[in-house]
Symmetry: C2
DNA sequence: TATTGTTATACTCTATAACTATA
DNA sequence: TATAGTTATAGAGTATAACAATA
């Protein structure tokens, strides 16, 4: 038991690998955004919207960690392209609810699929290795849920 | 062997976990940058400089994937804070070599440590799990090298 | 009076183009 | 003539502040 690497060191190493991996795959997000004529922020916004649910602008500002005025701009442009729609709330006529249109939902799911298609080296792993890795990552993210449920979106902004 | 999940699905799932995890840790980079009064680009620049080596501005433009005029701005501000220094090359008086100062190298390594200190859930894994995860990620990143060598920096921009 | 969303405006970061000095 | 770096300027994206409508 001379100089076995301590846990913190090992974890740091591991974490470096993890961030390095992301680094190399981050351009996917930017490329895909550009391909669809969206800024990174607009794509992030699109991906963050769950189909079917409307959200007040105010809530979106919080969700997107940006200013309300910026939400106006973001939503404006998505609405121009028919991807989302504003709707005034009957209960409180100040607030506007923003929801995906059918077109928006389609584009969203198409892009999501595009973004989650796993990179080459990942497919080079064996099934057992993949299962192992998945299990470990699940522990890492303390995501208790079952297989395909954890719908953490792919936004990488 | 009824409906065993196919590899692509499993990999997609795994990839989602990966990006999700990193998503959640990306703010570290931004927070740390802000804490030190640096823009993300400035921090990325700082971290990308190896202590001791000077680099021509031109090379930095390529390294940082940005325009030469932007390099001027980036370096200007780092130099104002005494983190890097320009030095004219004797052999070709057009080119200026940019290198970390002692102060810059110190800050760089301090921040690097700050950024690579692994997040809580990672430390919650057992040593065996950590080793497993590291091994799998290494395969994923096809990094053949030994243990602590792969000095892929922590920049997450 | 407080709150939601918008508009007007300014600031930050990046790029393009014109320029200076070396080669 | 070509190249390294800088300066002047414009653009994209974001925020701050003042505003209108509703509560």
């Amino acid at each position: 038991m001379g100089k076995s690497p301590n846990k913190v060191e090992l974890a740091a190493d591991c974490f470096r690998l993890l961030t390095g991996f992301l680094q190399r795959h981050r351009h996917r997000f930017l490329t895909v955004a550009a391909d669809h004529g969206l800024t990174p922020a607009h794509l992030g916004a699109l991906l963050s919207l769950e189909p079917g649910e409307g959200q007040p602008m105010r809530a979106l500002a919080e969700l997107w960690h940006c200013d309300a005025s910026n939400v106006t701009w973001l939503v404006d442009r998505l609405e121009e392209r028919g991807l989302v729609a504003r709707q005034q709330l009957p209960t409180d006529r100040r607030v506007k609810s923003v929801a995906l249109t059918a077109k928006g939902a389609n584009l969203r799911s198409a892009i999501d699929e595009e973004l989650t298609s796993p990179p080459e080296p990942m497919l080079a792993l064996t099934l057992v290795e993949l299962a192992q890795l998945t299990e470990l990552l699940r522990k890492l993210t303390s995501e208790a849920g079952p297989s395909t449920t954890g719908r953490s979106n792919t936004m990488v902004r």
